[in-house]
Structures are given as C-alpha cells and as structure tokens.
Symmetry: C2
Subunit: 484 residues, 2 copies
C-alpha cells in the first residue's frame, strides 16, 4: 500500500529539487549523459524485480512489459547520446559585424539553451515504464539539466515506488545531486506541485478531461508554465480503392492486429478505418479472426471503455460488424463497429469519439473525394495513416492529414512509436496541448530548456558550447551557416 | 479617422485568411521569400509617405523612424534568406534500420515543420514599424506559411492603415493568395479574432496586464493556441567595483544615454543600475548631463509614466539622484532615482517596477555578493547586463543572470536589439509568456510552425526538404548526424 504524499513531504521535495537545480544544471552535459547511462543500467538490472510488479498492477503481459522496459532504458541512453553530440544546444554564433546591413553594427551574439528548473511529470496508465516514472518526460527533463518530480499514476503505485527507488539509488551511485528526483502519490500531491512557483514546467500523458484540467491550472498560475499534455487521439486510417483491391485482406488483418494490440490501450490505436464500399474489405473484416479479450489496465479503464463502447454502438448510425463472444465482459472481447461516411460527416464528433480499449470504427465510403471531406472533420490527431498505392492521387489527402496530425504514415500502422531522431509524437489539440513539441524521440529534449543569448562575452565566461575553441565539438550555426 | 473593424468585417477577413492558408502554406518557401522581398521593397519605397505619418502619431523623431523602417525591411528580407537556406525546416531523416537497438526495427521517419494557420499579431506602441503591422511577428508568420491578421495599435492607427495598404498592394503584386493579410482596428476586434477557432496562434508586445489578459483568453479557448506575449522587463545592470573604478565615468554616461534613448520607451531600457558605494559613480551620475525631455508616444503612456514615477519616487527608500527641470511636465525631463541594495532586497517588487519612460533606479551596494542576492530577487527579464572586468569573479552572477533573462550582456547596453541568427529577445515570465521563444532574430520563425513526421512515405509524396535527392539543398540531421 503506497500512501499519498503529504503536503509537508511535497514541500520538502520541492525545496530539495530547487536546491539541486543549481548543481545539476551546472553539471556538464557529458556527465549528465553518464548519469543517465547508470540509471538505464540499473533499470535493466532490476527488470526481474520490476516486470512482475508491473504485470500484477497493469494486467499487461510479460513480453510486452519486458520490451517496454528495454525501450525505456534505450530512451535514457539515447538522450545521453544527444547530450554528448551537442545537437541539443542549437548553438549559434554571430560574430560582431560592423557592416551588418540592418543599419547598425551587429554585436557578438551567441545563443544556446539552458534548463528551466524543477519539472513535474504526470505519468500515464498505459505505459507503466516508457511514459511513467523513468519515461520520456523524465529522461528529457533530466537530460536538459532539470530536477524531476514524478506524480505516480494511481494504476501502478507499487511499480512507481519500486522504479523510483531504483532511479534514486542509481542517481546517488552516479554522483547526481541529492534531491534531484522524487516520486509523489495522490491527486492532491500532483495539483499542489503543479501550482508551486518552484515548478517550472510539466509533462502529462492521459485523458482529455484530466489533461485539460491540469493545463488550465498550469496556465492560470501567477507565473504560467509550459504544460505538455498528450490527451487523446482517434488515429484515422484511410484505405484507397486500389489498395483495398490489391491488399484488402492483408490490410484488414493488419488493422485488426493494430487496433487490438495491447487490448487497444495505445494512444496511437487506429480508431477509425475508412474502406471503399463494395471492395470486399467489409466482408474481410466481418470474418476476421479477432483475438481473445484481454484484461484492461484497471477497473476504471474497464468501466470507461464499456461506457464509450455502448455510446458508440448505441448510435443510430452504427452497427456491429464483428465482435467476440463477450464484448461487455471483463475481460472484454474486441468489437468492430461500422458506419457510413455520410453518417460520419453528419455527426463527426460523436462518431470520432476515442474509445480506449479494443474497439474501432469502420467507415464505408464510395468516392475517394469523401476521404478528403472526412479527414477535414477530424480534430487534432497524433497520427493519420494512408493505406494506398504509389500511383494513387492522394496528395490532397496527405496535405489534410499532415495538417491534422503530428505523424502521417504510409502503408504502416501507427501503434509502436519508434524512439528516434525524426520521430514526432504530438499533434494539434486535443491530441496535445502543445503541437510544437514531441514527447517521443530526441527532439523531446527541447521541452524543458529555453534559449539564452550572450552578448559580447569574454571566452572564459561563455558556456563551452559557445566558445571559439569549440571544446565539445558540437555543431553550430556560425554567422548563419551550419558548421557540423 | 480610422474606424473600428466591425464583427462582420472580421468574419470576412477570417474566412479569407482561412481560405488563403491552403495556397500560402503550399507555396514553396523560396517563392514566399520572393514575396517577402517585394513587401520589403515596397515599404522602403513608401518611406517618404510612412515616416511622416509615424512622426505625427508617435512623437518619435525622423531619424529614429527611418532607421526603424530600415530594420523592419531588413528583417523581412532576412526571413526570406532563412526560407531559402532551409535551416528553418530542422529537417531530420531516419532511414529504416532493422537493427535499431530499441528492441524493434526503426521505420523510415522524416520530420519537418509546417505552418499553423491564420495568426493574429497584436502590434506594439513603441515600435510603430518593427513590432507593428509589418514587424517581426508578421514577418515570421508569413515566412512560415501562415496568413496574418494584425490588430493595429491604437497609438498609430493611420500609420497602421497606411502600412497595411502598402503590404496588401505588395502582396497582390507579388502574386500572394488573396486574403492573406488584413489589419483590424479596435480592442473588440482583437478579442473577437483571438477567440475565433480559425486563428491558430498569436503574438503580442505590450504591457503586463494587457498581455496577461490576452494570454488568458488564448489559453481558455476550446482549442488553446500558442500566445507569444512580450510583456515587461526591468533589465538590470550590474557594475562591479573594478569596472566602476576603471570606467565609472564612461559607464555612467553610457547608462544615461541608454536609459533615456527613445525617451526610455524601449522594452530593453536598463531600468536598474547597481553601483558600488564610495566608487564615485554616484557622484558621476548625479552630475550627469541629462538630455532634454522628449514627448512620449501618447497621452496614455504619459499618464502611466507619471503614475509609476510618482509611485517610485514616493517610496520611502528612494530619493532623486538627478532630474531635469520638468520631471512631471509634458514632455517630462528624465529622472534618476537612487536607493540602497538593502532596501531593494527588503521590497524588491515595488522597487523593481518597470517605469516605461525616461526614469531609472540606481542601487548602491557594498559587496559584490549582494549583486548575486539582488539578481535572485528579479522576476523574468528580457535582458541582464554586467559591466565588469575580465578578471572579476562573476561566474555566479552570470549564472544567475542567465537564469533570469533571455539575453545577458557584457560591457554593452541592452537597448538596440540586433536582428541576427543568434539573437534571443524573450525571457521567463513576466518578460514573456513563452520563454522558449524569441520575437527577434531568425529563430523567431519557429513561433508559428510545428513539427510533423512522415513515416515510410514514397519520395514523390514527401515535402522537397525531406526527399533523398535534397532538391532544396537544405541542411538535415540524417540518422542523427548533421549534414550541412
């Protein structure tokens, strides 16, 4: 039993985080990278302890959790690599230029990025490792030079405590400043920390109502702070007529695998599949072999799932295309609903409601022009996917999809978000509260840092990444030109 | 007489902006650059028409306004250069990698940036060209591919209209989409546009109360939007004992020139000068030749200036160090107040109040350790300045200053913000509502764009900046390595 953090404990943690900020932000980035490596190694070593706790608390299977932990430690090490290669500084050097054509001499200006201060991370229910205590926001905040306070998710409190202990021990072993990292428990603890003036930024992964409420708190503070909330997404998939004709059966099978993966509890689950009428895809989907039901993460999610499923299946314009034997049981068998594109266009907000769990909506269309029309009705999305052929005329659909989503896919599936340099996991509201940011991939390091310029400074007082000698060998923009 | 924009006109403009978005965002960046050049040329050609209107409306002198217009057109052309060199895409290419050590194969992922949609720019009173109708936010929004609606500042309505006409004509001449750009007038017009769902981002330069009220509106929308507000700054300057001993007289003279420049109506005006007691600097400042009073921008600013001046000079801990013959007249002679660092530490918020106009505060200290203490009491700032010698022990003061401000200066003065690649004009709240952003310099192009990744796309459907052949020759991060 993990107890809620008291107000007094939070005060202690915030004071400690604030005190640790000076030392951690002044720790050279390469040393911070070494610390992240130690944390990653410790988590890998604790896999045998942590995975069983996660299994017991989240109902997720061992292979998935083992893989997720591996992804989590890879992520910590990849941020370390970014710290070492120095791309994250976005270092820029303008030498003084008496002839600068602005009409006044240009001073010597040098721009880099510095950390914000203590960061509050709200962890997610559905990724107990990768978006939780030692997940992406924690990694990017620590990498950037910030102390971290994690609000544990109520769905995996014991795992949060155990993970927090591994991280805290590893940080101490690696020589990180005391007080750099804490885990707190309970809704009130999260709110108290979010409203504390010492907290300078926050990340969140969860529901639209929960995330919006916290966003409102963060922006209503006397000093508003950046709040990176990932809230919800339907992740539509558009199948062209040609693709359906050529690969309809395999698209149907891949779709079923993707929307039921992890019992449909991925934020990138494809929630809507547009298929051409009369292509045979409806029949292929209707006869698809659905996997057995799997227990959802927790009772609250089970209850929420049933509510949205009944809402969607009760809509006058939908019918059940296929479902397992016990769609409303615990665990629930998967369900595929079907509607027509005309109905979706008539009532988009009801029929595009995200259903967190093993349900998705198939939408039949006649004409590919309707795909463009339908795509325009979606709110902001994490992903949008095309299943199409190279000679399909889909440029306009791609343009609309990119305007709605943070990631657009071609003949692949949105579930499984690779941690890379070019990943973008984000999107316009309500997919996130900050479409300019990503929560996955190396660009996430930009979340908790800010630019600062030094004008006319002597070399010895400049940060290393801005010194003429370039002791860190980081890439820079020198007088407007990239120097790798 | 410029009339307020009606609700019906705003509706028309927003519809037009929304319609123009598709064409403008799809216009190649190099063509957008050419359009910006045409706008810059047209503004330069209209200097003889615009500057006299600006003089009549703002009380600013001809040389200043001519220089500011030159800076404004330089800025438009510099954004064009950024569009052509392609740094602004931050293009990233990850090739597919079956051995990616995350534990799952890496797909082909390619990340670039796309525009947000119609942008609302609130122009500033104090820079009728550079932070107004054709100013920095307009330039960066247009450059990024967004339509622009400018809310004209009430202080220079005729100039706004005239500038808007020049811009609109030039855009048409250059072949930009119709409806790309509008100017609106009146407080209600600004609010209506800010709350309209078609507006996707906003920039603002002005006061703390005004900016905060608009920030609150922007974040309270059903779809919150990024709001880049520049609100207020005191811009402290710290003079070390050595610097005072070696250069006290010239520092005093330079300070007077800086805080009275433009009648003290710069957001980067140095509002507080820390000097060592017994160094002779107090005497140098007390006998400084202050310039004559100059008329402030408008009556509202004159009234606000007198109110804050009387508040500061009425504070029990301040006295007048030197002032011209008519400090409370219109135009007001400059005033220098003086207090002690102990008093500042005892009542920082009152004594650090920004006074927009030709007044500044001198703060005497004994020990340089008090500078660090005092620096810690400041809220977020646009700038912080050290006047110091190379062998001064100021590393801690520099660290604190960088933690408070967007730009830190060494032996120069914060007024005069150069438009360059490495400029950072921004800072923690209340200097701005978005410390991660700049309103001056080429990095400002990041304000109104967002990242999007394309996964597994065929070459012909990728944006040019992400294609293997690199037809635009833009720099990119390929598999994590910068390729210039």
């Amino acid at each position: 039993m993990v107890e809620n953090t008291t107000a007094q404990q939070i005060e202690t943690y915030l004071g400690a985080a604030d005190a640790a900020f000076a030392a951690w932000s002044a720790t050279p980035a390469g040393v911070r990278a070494d610390v992240l490596d130690v944390v990653a190694d410790a988590l890998d070593a604790a896999s045998g302890e942590l995975v069983p706790i996660a299994m017991a608390e989240t109902n997720l299977p061992e292979a998935r959790l083992t893989g997720e932990l591996k992804r989590t430690t890879f992520q910590l090490r990849l941020f370390g690599q970014v710290l070492r290669d120095g791309t994250w500084y976005d270092a820029r050097i303008d030498h003084a230029d008496a002839e600068w054509p602005m009409g006044a001499p240009r001073p010597d200006l040098r721009r880099t990025h510095i950390p914000l201060g203590p960061i509050l991370v709200f962890s997610a229910s559905n990724f107990p490792f990768a978006f939780s205590v030692a997940g992406g926001d924690t990694a990017s905040a620590l990498a950037g030079g910030n102390p971290v306070i994690v609000k544990a998710h109520s769905g995996h409190l014991e795992l949060s405590r155990a993970t927090g202990e591994v991280v805290t021990r590893a940080l101490a072993e690696a020589g990180a400043p005391e007080g750099l990292f804490h885990v707190v428990y309970g809704t009130e603890a999260g709110k108290t920390a979010l409203l504390d003036p010492r907290v300078k930024g926050s990340g969140f992964t969860g529901s639209i109502p929960g995330g919006r409420a916290l966003f409102n708190l963060a922006t209503s503070r006397e000093e508003p702070i950046p709040f990176y909330g990932e809230l919800g997404s339907n992740n539509p998939v558009f199948v062209t007529r040609q693709a359906a004709a050529l690969r309809g059966e395999s698209i149907a099978a891949e779709f079923v695998a993707s929307f039921t993966m992890g019992a449909g509890q991925f934020c990138t689950k494809p929630g809507t599949l547009f298929i051409p009428r009369g292509s045979g895809m409806r029949e292929a989907l209707a006869s698809a072999a659905l996997p057995n039901g799997a227990k959802l993460l927790n009772d609250r999610i089970q209850a929420g799932y049933l509510e949205v499923l009944q809402q969607l299946s009760g809509h006058a314009a939908t019918e059940v295309l296929v479902q397992g034997s016990d769609p409303l049981a615990d665990p629930p068998s998967p369900t595929l609903l079907v509607t027509g594109v005309e109905d979706l266009l008539a009532d988009p907000s009801a029929l595009q409601t995200e259903c967190f769990g093993p349900t998705a909506m198939v939408v039949e269309y006649d004409d590919e022009a309707q795909l463009v029309q339908a795509a325009k009705t979606f709110e902001g999305q994490l992903t949008a996917t095309l299943q199409a052929q190279d000679d399909d005329d889909v440029a306009e659909l791609v343009r609309i999809a990119a305007g709605k989503a943070g990631r657009v896919l071609w003949n692949q599936w949105p579930t499984g978000v690779s941690v890379t340099y070019a990943q973008q996991h984000g999107g316009p509201y309500p997919a996130t509260t900050a479409a300019g940011s990503t929560s996955v991939g190396t660009a996430a390091i930009a979340r908790f840092i800010r630019p600062v310029s030094f004008q006319n400074f002597p070399q010895h007082l400049l940060p290393a990444e801005l010194q003429d000698a370039n002791p860190l060998s980081n890439p820079r923009l020198v007088d407007g030109k990239p120097v790798a």
